[in-house]
Assembly symmetry: C2
Homo-oligomer: 404 residues x 2
Amino acid sequence: MATQQSVRHVNAMCALNVLFREGGMSRADLGRVLGLNRSTTGSIIADLMAERLVIEHESHSRHPGTARVGRPGIVIEIDPAGGTFIGAELGVDRLTVVVTDMVCRQIVHRSISFDAAHRSPETGVRRIAELIRSAMASVADRGPPRGLCVVIPALVKDGVVCNALTMGWRDVPLATMLRQRVMPDLPVMVENDANALAIGETYRGTSQRSDVVAFLLIENGVGGGITVGGRLFRGAFGFAGEFGQLIVGRGGFSGGRQKPGHLESYIGKDALLAIYRRKGGSAAATLADLLGALQRGDPTARMAASIWGRALARGLVQLIAVLNPGLIILGGSGAVIFRHVAAEVTKAVHRELLQTYPAPEIELSTLGPEGAAFGGACLIHQQMFSIDQSRIAQDRPALTLLRD
Amino acid sequence: MATQQSVRHVNAMCALNVLFREGGMSRADLGRVLGLNRSTTGSIIADLMAERLVIEHESHSRHPGTARVGRPGIVIEIDPAGGTFIGAELGVDRLTVVVTDMVCRQIVHRSISFDAAHRSPETGVRRIAELIRSAMASVADRGPPRGLCVVIPALVKDGVVCNALTMGWRDVPLATMLRQRVMPDLPVMVENDANALAIGETYRGTSQRSDVVAFLLIENGVGGGITVGGRLFRGAFGFAGEFGQLIVGRGGFSGGRQKPGHLESYIGKDALLAIYRRKGGSAAATLADLLGALQRGDPTARMAASIWGRALARGLVQLIAVLNPGLIILGGSGAVIFRHVAAEVTKAVHRELLQTYPAPEIELSTLGPEGAAFGGACLIHQQMFSIDQSRIAQDRPALTLLRD
DNA sequence: GGTATTTGTGGTCTGTCACAACAAAAGGGG
DNA sequence: CCCCTTTTGTTGTGACAGACCACAAATACC
């Protein structure tokens, strides 16, 4: 059910979002953007200031270019020191923690190596909790921590790691374990790494460019995430966007670890190097070696990249036919090859689609190696800055049951 | 921006939905379901009655089983004669019109043959407008028409038919043409046939069973629709769910009309019969012949169905990996074969997915040949019974642009 | 310095929901 | 049959939030 409080909640969240997107502005400007009265806007701002979410900008000097006649307004902005968001990645070979401030700028980044495959979940939780506590201590002056999101390369549901293939963990209640070890009342969530990266990308502005964005994460395994209107699309059970399972052929290159035919056994990092070796590349070649060879114009490397690109294109066509995204972002350490075959891949994708079908743009991710942890922090940020649907209409069961 | 009127709108729509789903009930019961006060509920009902959307049930006699102590309530229900919804299908070989009442029961169904491929769009519009007007006239006592949705097997965007491959129409502004010919102020929308069928299925209760449902339409071509929370998922450009474009191999069976490798050239009706012929079936065999042979246990027919099923399974795996639906509905005249290979298909799908990955249920559509037109009517109904997001927060651009 | 313009704030009005009170309409027990 | 209990629908009052108006304050422009 909706009440007057729902109205206030919606308008407060809209105000926060406008301030986050547009930066600081006066109450009057904000009111105009929101379509609300000046006095109402003032009341909303008073509430938000009480929650330490926004603050009056100290210096009244505004930019010279924006000089206007009349009494100048007091610039209101998101309080950068109003709190912090913590993202942590429990990766296959390292632990990473990123802390962002209220406007989602990264203010701390720590990373240590950690061999998850040969360690117990308990050890992992202990080590990452230590890292989180130390990072939090170093930014205590930036306001209270507002939430923690732990990101892991695994199928995740309701805070429980169902199946982390790459590290052999199953049914680990990560959220509960971390809640106890970090801070009693801190909201904790657990998320799949590709999903977190997808959200991290939306905070780079991708969702401004297209309503539906697909993110493809290429490491040894291949995962993915889908955002719709800047929010994660999770599917019926929370596992949408598992692009590694797309079928692109009958075999693959990555030995026995992955299912034959699956996209990840064609374009994962292992697979890429296997292609290179099969075409005559050195048996000890690394990804860096292959990249170097590509830059030199080495024909063997080019051929390997071409084969990789063809498989990628086949996978992309599948997800395009289903989702019709406006933008596809490629991320993960295996994605760099795309730079060398972008034209071929784009062409192959167009060839397979119907003539009038709108093909998406395909781009490389701009997030660094700490992108997943950053995306985790963004997820908490998004939650805090979003309209809580349960405060508007608790049950929204899509009506639509036909009676006889 | 949200105002008090937004609150009323949300609560009024919630009330309508509860009445639609649960049938009639007293104001007091409705208030309990909605979590609203009795007096508030009464006020909302008064508004809805003024709009002719709901009505007090005439007979005060309630069902004997539901007898309760205390003053009996007056049963409030959706007014069945409060208006009609019109769905029309402009198919390849026939025109169909379905009119439903306020609770989405089909009250009229008319169909005439029409060879769209050899007729101009103008003729098609004229003929279907006649059919619509005559159907409307026959149900004038059921209340005013509330909207019209025309459904067509084509890529549709903003009321314009971009590309109707099967009838050779391109860039036809169908909505505008119909608005002029049917009724001046009637809301008119145009929708893809598979999308309409998907919504028709949600009105059979599918969205109650799973939040994400994929609908696969199998005629000569193969299309599809996706519903999320009972509403259509359209993708960035409105063309999501074009499952016919999924790649499942390198060739196909359906001659040159469709792209090689695409799902529709493997499992479309033409393709199915081509498989049957190639395996030794009669050159003149129809779908009915093949079905008969299957029922007799004819091994040639079984083999053809098996091949068809394998291609279908490959396509389903693709969309499952992307969407993670909880339910897949197969519809269209080509879908009937599924009944004979259901077990094989399910098994093949499970084999290709990761072990812990939740596979969806796969079922046949229960909608008849007028299903698409019915779905069109449901779309209008859904629009009328839905919360209008623009009345809560006009701009919801997913916040999320990271400033530097 | 005076005027025009804009801002922030306080007061009042209106729409919506919550709550309390009450008459009306039923069942149940004596 | 009468009275008590329970439930319903309606009405009146208060709380909350946004709209509108008025006013002091602060600036630009002449």
